[in-house]
Symmetry: C2
Subunit: 325 residues, 2 copies
């Protein structure tokens, strides 16, 4: 398993985060931190919600995408960028490329939500469709890159992307004093890796927790096992959290994450509805896994000051998960 446990690529440092933040500031929001007395009373904790659903493209992934795109030389930029993603990374890379005025090609499963395809096109991106399987995605994507020579911006296993995501908790610790814990959802681990990178450097006393759907708990099982476990096609309402860890994100997870907590589909949907109802924020299911795990594990969070990364707000308003019942 050595290739899975020792990253073969450059491991970003906090200096990269500082460079990233200066580079992306013109293209992102410093998102607000909101609180809810109701949810504080319900959990016994002091919760500080870092609202990346109010970010450009309604997703933290704009941070990493902008860092990758605006870090390209003019020569590189001329050739354009490409990625595969069924969701927020697709929108975010399209947004970033649009801001720089360069070409972007996104390989998306033909089953991806039309709203997300429309948004990619709205930002000026080109979509190439694949079948909804890992094998089809990789085959189609290889072809795209072979033809165009475009720079591949991986959704998470990329030092530029991780350094970009790391700017989120850099803002958070500046906005909220004396946090005890920061918790974020974990899918491929890009946001968690960025969070670990920033906090282990500038606030190592803060514990980092990750939250994962029980239906896609490969990261939790990886942390217990001590090596990367990848599931092929997990099924969860938290559609941003289906992808597996890769070597670079595993490096940060295994070295800096205190624990990975899980929640059921019902708990995730209930927490999502609670955030909509009490905080008046549109958040996507992936963003609600954190609150679901806090409600499920009060003993960890009680009396603590807890930063929660709300990762995004891209959701189909015509198909809300609590309406399936």
């Amino acid at each position: 398993m050595s290739s899975a446990t020792e990253p073969t690529m450059y491991i970003p440092t906090y200096d990269d985060v500082l460079v990233a933040h200066e580079r992306i500031k013109p293209f992102i929001h410093e998102t607000p931190v909101l609180t809810s007395r109701f949810l504080n009373e319900k959990t016994g904790a002091e919760l500080f919600f870092k609202c990346e659903n109010l970010q450009k493209a309604a997703a933290f992934k704009v941070r990493g995408a902008c860092n990758a795109v605006f870090g390209l030389t003019d020569e590189e930029a001329k050739i354009g960028v490409a990625t595969h993603s069924s969701g927020n990374h697709a929108l975010s890379l399209a947004y970033a490329a649009g801001q720089r005025g360069i070409e972007v090609t996104v390989v998306m499963p033909r089953t991806a939500p039309q709203a997300k395809k429309d948004a990619v096109i709205g930002y000026g991106g080109t979509i190439v469709e694949c079948e909804p399987s890992t094998s089809s995605r990789e085959a189609v994507f290889s072809e795209v890159v072979a033809q165009s020579g475009a720079d591949f911006v991986h959704p998470y296993n990329d030092p530029r992307v991780i350094a970009g995501q790391a700017t989120c908790s850099k803002e958070l610790v500046n906005q909220v004093e004396n946090l005890d814990i920061v918790i974020a959802p974990i899918g491929g681990g890009g946001m968690i890796s960025g969070t670990c990178l920033t906090l282990s450097t500038i606030a190592p006393q803060i514990n980092v927790y990750a939250a994962e759907p029980l239906n896609a708990d490969d990261a939790a099982r990886s942390l217990k096992a001590g090596y990367i476990i990848a599931d092929d096609a997990p099924n969860t309402v938290a559609d941003g959290l289906k992808v597996p860890l890769k070597d670079l994100t595993w490096h940060f997870v295994k070295n800096h994450v205190t624990d990975i907590l899980t929640a059921t589909e019902e708990e995730i949907v209930a927490a999502m509805k609670l955030i909509w109802m009490r905080m008046k924020l549109v958040v996507e299911p992936s963003s609600a896994v954190t609150l679901a795990t806090i409600l499920k594990n009060p003993e960890i969070f009680k009396g603590k000051r807890v930063g929660i990364i709300i990762t995004g707000g891209n959701v189909d308003l015509d198909k809300l998960p609590w309406m399936d019942k």
Copy 2:
């Protein structure tokens, strides 16, 4: 029509607004002002959304309610407060009374959203139900007050309430420079009156527009006619805007409002969905009437810096208006 055109009660001044703001500050949020590049491009205006949906009780009405409740003497407070309301004023008075620890009784139409009834009870209020018409509400309410002697905090035709609502645009002009226009929804006219009170004093160059559902356009017809026209039971998805003007709010509307614009039910629902989709904010239908009228009357707003009061976020998440289709 003299009783309808000359207020019989005290007309609040900007000094009352200053007192109100100091009084209520511990119990309210200074709500954020958010922007959307997409909506700016769509309207050709610069829009600044003052997010009272992120206010305590998710409604600007907390401002007026807190000013009334915390302005009572200890003697008065002991007897408690009462009101009739189709929604947010009920929650808000219940919240304010709960903060002061005094009794509150609310007369609500039996058709009011369950979420709003639950919230009133959650804050410790008592609900007495009436039929969904102005006449029934007033009859039931008279009985309640006759029995308890509670201080009547009218939802809008009350100088204490208007002075409280006026703190919202006081914050707004502090948060955003050089506004040309401020627009707010109009039902009974409490928010619009407060807006007129503040802006006519400290920023008289700003034009105040009101936005109203076409299905409940009594204020627009009043402004044209030059006297109060009241409908008994208009039907609109914007359930906070069904009530008529009263003498005190009419005083501010006729003297300071530039125009009252209207929008159809379809336009209101489309604008509401647009705010949810693009700004990731849960706003109620009444809050979307403003954007609906801006989209409908681009010539008024184009090139202007426009403050928009987002009045509240209390909506039944199980019954969203675009899902009836």
